[in-house]
């Protein structure tokens, strides 16, 4: 009985913390007369709700294109940095040389780089190679900034997997690479999933790279698209909140499903 009491307490706390989500939803489904009111409706009745704003958002802005662009960039950047970080994390975990330590330190230092700073040279490089408005360049930029932290997360995870396992596989005739691919990688599933969530959220959230490297409205990502609503004269809050909900749904679903991996991945990383 007492344990359910605790559930209720935590649920109340959640309700308080997640109020902004609730308010987005309420704003999106209520008619403008109730949204722009001095005394807003806190608990709307079902009869007043309508999903018109969601359709309106799609009609007024190329939301579907922006969502597709974001999805493309996110998938590409996540896959690329996950591969690079898994290899590097394993190397840092298993081998210790001077060069390794320097690399490790460099990776930590790059964690401090501000996005609004690194984007300046990115812009110059992209201009030089005529890669402005190129989604592949955006993908690379996102992949690059994800690698350092992902490598550290995975290194911690590989540290927790006993070396004896790959030694045994190598005695059985595996090469070190196949032992890594077929023995270690499957065991690191949790860590890889945790890392994938981290990287996907990082790319999906990116604004500064997309804003600076992409001018063509047809190649905007969802974040640059959403910000373009704000500059408009007289913001239409219902449409904006509806579009906002749509833009967050993919990451929220991914997060709710994969969150246990994130927690156990972090736990394993912190214990070693």
């Amino acid at each position: 009985m007492r344990r359910w009491g605790w559930t209720v307490a935590v649920a109340l706390l959640c309700a308080l913390l997640l109020f902004p989500f609730y308010w987005m939803f309420v704003t999106a489904v209520l008619p403008t007369s109730q949204v722009l009111a001095r005394s807003p409706t806190l608990l709307p009745s079902i009869a007043d709700m309508s999903f018109e704003a969601f359709r309106g958002a799609f009609e007024r802005k190329p939301l579907a294109t922006w969502l597709a662009n974001s999805l493309l960039v996110t998938l590409g950047a996540t896959a690329l940095s996950l591969l690079v970080s898994a290899l590097a994390g394993y190397s840092l975990s298993r081998f210790r040389t001077r060069a390794q330590e320097i690399t490790g330190l460099t990776l930590l230092l790059t964690k401090m780089l501000p996005g609004s700073l690194i984007v300046i040279p990115f812009f110059i490089m992209a201009s030089t190679f005529h890669l402005i408005d190129n989604l592949f360049a955006l993908m690379l930029a996102n992949a690059a900034v994800g690698v350092p932290f992902a490598t550290w997360l995975l290194k911690g995870f590989f540290d927790g997997i006993p070396r004896d396992l790959e030694h045994a596989a190598m005695i059985d005739g595996c090469s070190h690479l196949t032992a890594f691919a077929y023995v270690i990688m499957p065991l690191a599933r949790t860590g890889l999933a945790a890392c994938a969530i981290y990287l996907a959220i990082l790319s999906w959230s990116d604004f500064v790279f997309a804003k600076t490297l992409i001018n063509d409205q047809a190649r905007w990502t969802i974040t640059t698209g959403m910000v373009s609503f704000v500059g408009e004269h007289g913001i239409e809050w219902s449409a904006l909140m509806a579009a906002g909900i749509l833009s967050m749904v993919p990451m929220i679903v991914l997060f709710l499903i994969l969150e246990p991996f994130l927690v156990s991945g972090m736990t394993a990383g912190s214990q070693r």
């Binding site: 935590v10 609004s116 300046i120 959230s205």
Partner: protein, 302 residues
């Protein structure tokens, strides 16, 4: 790796393998982080403004950018804003993260789902966080002003984002909301690695709850807590999206952190050199913070 049998070739092959695995990351970091950093440093010595970024290399070399940026009051104002923003965010976010982690560090029904919900703001893109709070803090129709009016705390509406005296608070609140889950996650992970029998022993001894926290929980999570503070502090210090989408640094530079200022100098006024100097200044400050915390970081990281 042990390669005792044939030390020469095997050890060399192992080392080659180690480097081969590391190579893609080294290439990525070199091409997309180290080289851009070099560009920033070299740009910081190129004087004057240029609309043509590719011709920057032809501009005269000198320390003019450093002199003009460091002598500018606006720079030091931005340093102050950055610090106020960073500490104003991480201290409440840490408190919230610690509180939520303590609540979740128990066994109760639906725990997995409630934990996911507590962590949810972390998954929201910074600019979306910003947009949601623009609405919550809207001067005329925002629900925040409505609550404050209902409680009788204010008689006239507060124009959160357009009033110089409240704008910084209005960008700090969404940043707290986005950053507390990171504390919850790392502190919860640290709490769960504390052996349960320590708590059982304390219970047998009849230690009150706060003693269990100060004597068992806190010593067990202190290392992770410091690490999380430094990482989250660095992250907040360089935060761009939330502020830029909400205010762009205004009104009257009230929310112009160094990160926003660097961006505005570069892409607003085309002073690439000055922007680069501000970037260098940010890195120096971040590096100083890391050096201050290096003993703790070394323990947790290496």
């Amino acid at each position: 790796m042990r390669a005792a049998s044939r030390p020469g070739t095997l050890a060399r092959r192992e080392r080659l393998f180690a480097y081969a695995l590391l190579a893609p990351a080294v290439v990525a970091v070199a091409a997309l982080i180290a080289y851009p950093m070099y560009l920033i440093f070299s740009m910081s010595f190129r004087e004057g403004k240029s609309m043509n970024f590719l011709a920057l290399g032809n501009r005269p070399l000198g320390l003019g950018n450093y002199a003009s940026v460091l002598a500018d009051d606006a720079t030091w104002h931005s340093v102050w804003v950055s610090f106020a923003y960073t500490f104003g965010t991480i201290i409440p976010a840490f408190a919230l993260g610690l509180g939520t982690a303590l609540m979740l560090d128990r066994v109760f029904p639906l725990r997995r789902w409630l934990r996911s919900l507590v962590l949810l703001p972390w998954a929201v893109p910074g600019v979306m966080v910003s947009i949601v709070f623009l609405w919550l803090f809207d001067a005329s129709f925002g629900v925040t002003n409505y609550f404050l009016r209902s409680l009788g705390l204010i008689s006239t509406d507060i124009a959160w984002y357009t009033d110089e005296s409240t704008a910084l608070v209005a960008v700090i609140v969404p940043t707290i909301w986005k950053s507390y889950p990171f504390f919850t996650l790392t502190l919860l992970a640290a709490m769960q690695s504390i052996p349960g029998n320590l708590y059982e022993a304390a219970e047998v001894d009849g230690a009150p709850a706060w003693r269990r926290f100060t004597d068992i929980t806190w010593p067990g999570i202190r290392g992770q807590a410091t690490l999380a503070m430094v990482l989250n502090g660095l992250w907040t210090f360089r935060e761009f999206d939330i502020i830029y989408a909400a205010t762009g640094g205004g009104p009257s530079k009230a929310t112009e952190t160094l990160g926003i200022r660097a961006y505005n100098e570069a892409f607003g006024y085309f002073y690439m050199g000055r922007a680069a100097v501000i970037g260098v200044l940010m890195l120096v400050i971040a590096l100083a913070a890391v050096l201050l915390a290096r003993r703790q970081l070394r323990k947790e990281f290496f």
